[in-house]
């Protein structure tokens, strides 16, 4: 560490423990430990921590993580996107319309969907930046606009709100497995053979492990978390994200291209929503007009549990990932523990409140406010 030549008698020493505690992820770390301890105590014999159970809550957590990373970076840059949920429904429907109804090759379908959705994200950002309106309002408008199209388009061309047949359309495509495939099958086969994970005992898949690979959804989640974390903490652009959300005017005065940063974060959020949607339609084989409902709030809650400030300028991608993990573990854990699933919402409200209170306290310590 840097050795200060003179010391100031008014600066109190901060203990390393306290210093380690003062970080945005604290709430997420505490919450994660609490949640795991709780379910290990009350649901350990329910199969929640057997291989299939782990896969189950990992998948749910990974879904939350994918959209939480986008929402996190956008929130730190000082904006919200309430259209994430509608974007998920819309993107899934685009895949179905291009790939099934129009019969385009799946790779072209996926690339076109990404292009359209990211363009809509850019439009969101552009309107927010140019009009100076709160992103809350602008993206609320898009929540309705996109949801409306998601219902209107399949009803008009197919007279239904669910379009299936995506799995067949994706058969043999080179890009589709990036979203719907699995990796690590040999490893899981080996783990099954040596008895670490269970294997099917009879039926056509006898001898195969019950979990035969890591779904790409989880790979995407981990990759996005790592990318987001490095982008935020280790690059120039990350500093611009913090600055844009901390005080846009001060950032502009220092030469930070605030508008560009914000628009790019809207595009990135749309990208994450599209990854979510593409993985989902590949898994389900169909696109539904009601997909992604309320996902924008779940993403925002995960981000806030992870220590980000709703007002921008402060937060952590790792924290958001932990928030998403808590989310997934609790949602599925209550199911394994045999608790009435409606109580999940009660729990969610309580943990959100606790996280916000803890985070406000941490922020006060950091900025020295009283």
């Amino acid at each position: 560490m840097v050795d200060t030549a003179q010391t100031d008698e008014r600066i109190k020493e901060i203990s390393p423990l306290r210093k380690a505690l003062i970080r945005p992820e604290l709430g997420g770390i505490v919450g994660t430990i609490a949640v795991f301890v709780l379910f290990l105590l009350f649901a350990s014999d329910s199969g929640m921590f057997a291989s299939q159970g782990v896969l189950n809550w990992s998948l749910v957590s990974a879904q939350f993580m994918i959209i939480a990373v986008g929402a996190c970076l956008l929130m730190i840059a000082g904006e919200f996107d309430l259209s994430v949920g509608s974007m998920i429904g819309f993107a899934g429907m685009m895949v179905a319309v291009f790939g099934v109804v129009l019969g385009w090759p799946m790779w072209l379908t996926i690339l076109t969907t990404f292009a359209i959705c990211m363009a809509i994200g850019a439009l969101n950002g552009w309107i927010v930046v140019k009009t100076g309106l709160p992103s809350f309002i602008v993206t609320l408008a898009f929540l309705f606009i996109l949801r409306g199209f998601t219902i209107f388009i399949p009803q008009t061309i197919e007279r239904k709100t669910i379009i299936g047949g995506i799995r067949d359309a994706a058969e043999g495509d080179w890009l589709a497995p990036i979203f719907g495939g699995k990796i690590g099958q040999p490893l899981f086969q080996w783990l099954g053979d040596i008895g670490v994970i269970d294997v099917f005992e009879r039926g056509s898949r006898a001898g195969q492990p019950v979990v035969d690979g890591v779904p790409m959804l989880i790979v995407w989640a981990i990759a996005l978390v790592i990318f987001g974390h490095i982008l935020l903490t280790k690059t120039r652009f990350g500093n611009w994200i913090f600055a844009s959300g901390g005080d846009a005017e001060a950032a502009r005065n220092s030469g930070v291209p605030v508008n560009r940063v914000k628009i790019l974060m809207f595009v990135f959020t749309a990208f994450c929503a599209t990854v979510f949607a593409t993985c989902q339609v590949m898994e389900f084989g169909s696109a539904g007009a009601d997909r992604g409902l309320l996902k924008e709030f779940e993403a925002i809650i995960a981000v806030v549990i992870g220590g980000a400030l709703l007002t921008g300028g402060y937060g952590s991608v790792l924290g958001a990932a932990l928030g998403a993990l808590i989310f997934g573990v609790v949602q599925q854990g209550l199911f394994f523990a045999g608790v009435e699933s409606s109580l999940f919402r009660v729990f969610l409200g309580i943990i959100l409140l606790a996280a916000v209170i803890l985070n406000t306290y941490i922020r006060r310590i950091i900025t020295g406010e009283r």
């Binding site: 840097v2 600055a243 005080d247």
Partner: protein, 264 residues
């Protein structure tokens, strides 16, 4: 060092006019600023100080008039142009981001990068080292470079902003009312910082409406009133009372001062 009079001015603004629609904010303002001097720009609220410094720093384009920078006519299209030319502005409130660390603030917009595995990453070690060094030079002892700016006092924040501008090669440093929200002790610190900067041959333009702060560090004084210059005075040629009167437009102030018993 004190060959100021023979120097070329680093920046010369001639007959600057700025109209906003039907409002004439500046009606022909001229000043010259020399390297190594602290040029105080005084004026009451609404005198045109802000418009004038925004013109100098590239935010506004003058309606009429000429800006010569280092002897050559300059046309700044944006604040970025002015910044690149070496004109740095430190704003009263909008200088620092409280939630970010001192070192992140210090390098905001000018982050140093190093290559790691082919990627350009923010060089935190370098940024932290430079920040601590520069802060120590200005007489501020940080707990660490990761200390949030929010924990610093108002005067310290101004000092960080000034140190940042100097580190990034400012030739002209515009300080927009740096002392107006500060206590006595903090003001003294900022004024001392201004003195340190001036000694590095940087031209300081110090905007204030506090005559005492101006007299404490100023080499020359220009008073703005209702969009016009009332002339530039050398240190020693003018008394604080005269400056105060010029800022207020003379007469009204005298009447007021009488009724307040000379306390203003």
């Amino acid at each position: 060092m004190n060959t100021r009079s023979t120097h070329e001015p680093i920046i010369r603004m001639q007959n600057i006019e700025k109209h906003f629609g039907s409002v004439i904010a500046l009606a022909g303002v001229s000043i010259e600023v020399y390297p190594g001097e602290c040029h105080c720009l005084l004026g009451d609220n609404g005198a045109g100080k802000s418009t004038f410094i925004k013109t100098m720093s590239g935010v506004h384009k003058p309606t009429n008039g000429e800006i010569l920078f280092g002897g050559r006519p300059m046309n700044f299209e944006s604040p970025r142009d002015a910044m690149d030319a070496g004109i740095a502005t430190v704003h009263q409130h909008l200088a620092m981001i409280p939630l970010m660390s001192v070192s992140r603030n210090f390098f905001m917009g000018n982050e140093p990068v190093k290559k790691v595995l082919g990627f350009n990453l923010f060089d935190h070690d370098y940024a932290n080292k430079i920040t601590m060094e520069e802060m120590r030079k200005m007489g501020i002892n940080l707990r660490g470079p990761d200390q949030a700016v929010g924990t610093l006092s108002g005067g310290e924040r101004q000092t960080v902003a000034i140190a940042r501008a100097v580190h990034f090669g400012a030739k002209v440093l515009i300080l927009d009312e740096p002392t107006s929200a500060l206590g006595v002790r903090q003001t003294a610190n900022v004024l001392a910082t201004i003195d340190k900067v001036r000694k590095q041959d940087i031209a300081v333009v110090f905007i204030t409406h506090n005559v005492r702060h101006a007299m404490a560090v100023g080499d020359r004084f220009t008073v703005l009133n209702r969009g016009q210059t009332l002339g530039t005075a050398q240190r020693g040629q003018i008394t604080p009372e005269e400056l105060q009167d010029m800022m207020a437009g003379g007469q009204e102030m005298v009447a007021l001062e009488g009724s307040l018993g000379g306390t203003v």
